[in-house]
Amino acid sequence: MRRKKKQAVAAATNVELNIMPFIDIFSLLNTFLLFTAAFVSIGLLKVQVPYLSNAEPDKAPQRSLEINVSVDSTNVDLRTRFSSPPYQARESSYATTPDGIADFHQALLALKQDNPKQDLVTLYSDDGVSYKLLVVILDAVKVDSSQEYDETKDNNTLFPKVVIGSVLL
């Protein structure tokens, strides 16, 4: 009896955890994750082009603000006017530098604050403008930097509807 106990104690002291299956699982998991990992996160910017519709026009169109943005390689022009008198037309110009675009974005934030229901911007671009710059302008128009991003809410859009007017004009 005593001998058996001694053998059991000796066996217990020599116990080693078999970690090979653990390493196997880790290796497989690592391989799978490395192969499927997407290191570039891809996003979308939704825009529209003008088109003819056979839908009936509004019978009593309300007075609304029209926001037009014109882009060339060096400047972004912001023009606003109301659809019916008094038009209160305004125009401002910004450079396409980071500071200029930040000022342009601030002007759009102020516009949104004054006209919270307004959601449409028409964008006109010069043929020589690079797609890279156009995306920066679209970001300034569409993404509301004043709001803390919350992925459960759609609260980070400034002007969600952007129509690229110069596609047809």
């Binding site: 970690i19 653990f22 390493i23 880790f26 290796s27 998991l29 690592n30 994750l33 490395l34 499927t36 990992a37 997407a38 290191f39 570039v40 996160s41 891809i42 996003g43 979308l44 910017l45 939704k46 825009v47 529209q48 082009v49 003008p50 088109y51 519709s53 056979n54 980071p98 500071d99 675009i101 930040a102 671009s125 010069d126 043929d127 020589g128 403008v129 690079s130 797609y131 890279k132 156009l134 995306v135 920066v136 679209l138 970001d139 569409k142 993404v143 930097s145 991003y149 992925e151 980070n156 690229i164 110069s166 596609v167 047809l168």
Partner: protein
């Protein structure tokens, strides 16, 4: 385990550092694992523009405008290495692209009863384009798509964090 020749002494390989590295790597990969609904590798022949958008990709791009060619569903439509030839343009649109997009819209409509009933219904097109291209080319692509009844575009961009400015 290996046995040394003379003393029969067991030599064990220290695997704990390797386990540590594996644990850290697995944790990092799991944390950075993308939860986007669609995983898509951009065309290697183009560079996407950076954007601070928070909207994730929800469908694979149908039209890809790389540095040298235009593809529709991975099929080459036109080479643009030397610009676009006048014979390929009609009323400001790229005719071969227009033809492919008409086919694409017809195929899409066959899968959608609502669109099949209403011929005037317009569709959405996902566009992946190199960031160095000029708006002139983008306008021609959009005009071709517009004539094929695609009026809403989802521009594929590379997501970055909000700019500090």
């Amino acid at each position: 385990m290996a046995l040394s020749g003379d003393s029969n002494e067991a030599i064990s390989l220290p695997i704990m550092p390797m386990l540590d590295i594996f644990s850290i790597l697995v944790t990092f990969l799991l944390m950075s694992y993308s939860s986007d609904p669609i995983s898509h590798d951009p065309n290697p022949a183009l560079t996407l523009p950076d954007s601070i958008t928070t909207v994730s990709l929800d469908e694979v791009p149908a039209v890809v405008v790389s540095k040298h060619e235009i593809l529709v569903n991975d099929n080459k439509v036109l080479s643009i290495t030397d610009g676009i030839d006048d014979k390929d343009t009609t009323q400001g649109a790229i005719y071969p692209l227009y033809q492919e997009l008409v086919k694409l819209n017809t195929t899409n409509s066959n899968y959608s009863d609502a669109q099949a009933k209403d011929d005037s219904k317009v569709s959405t097109l996902t566009l992946e384009m190199d960031r160095e291209h000029k708006f002139e080319l983008m306008r021609m692509v959009m005009l071709s798509a517009q004539q094929a009844k695609f009026v809403t575009f989802k521009l594929v961009v590379s997501k970055e964090k909000a700019r500090s400015s």
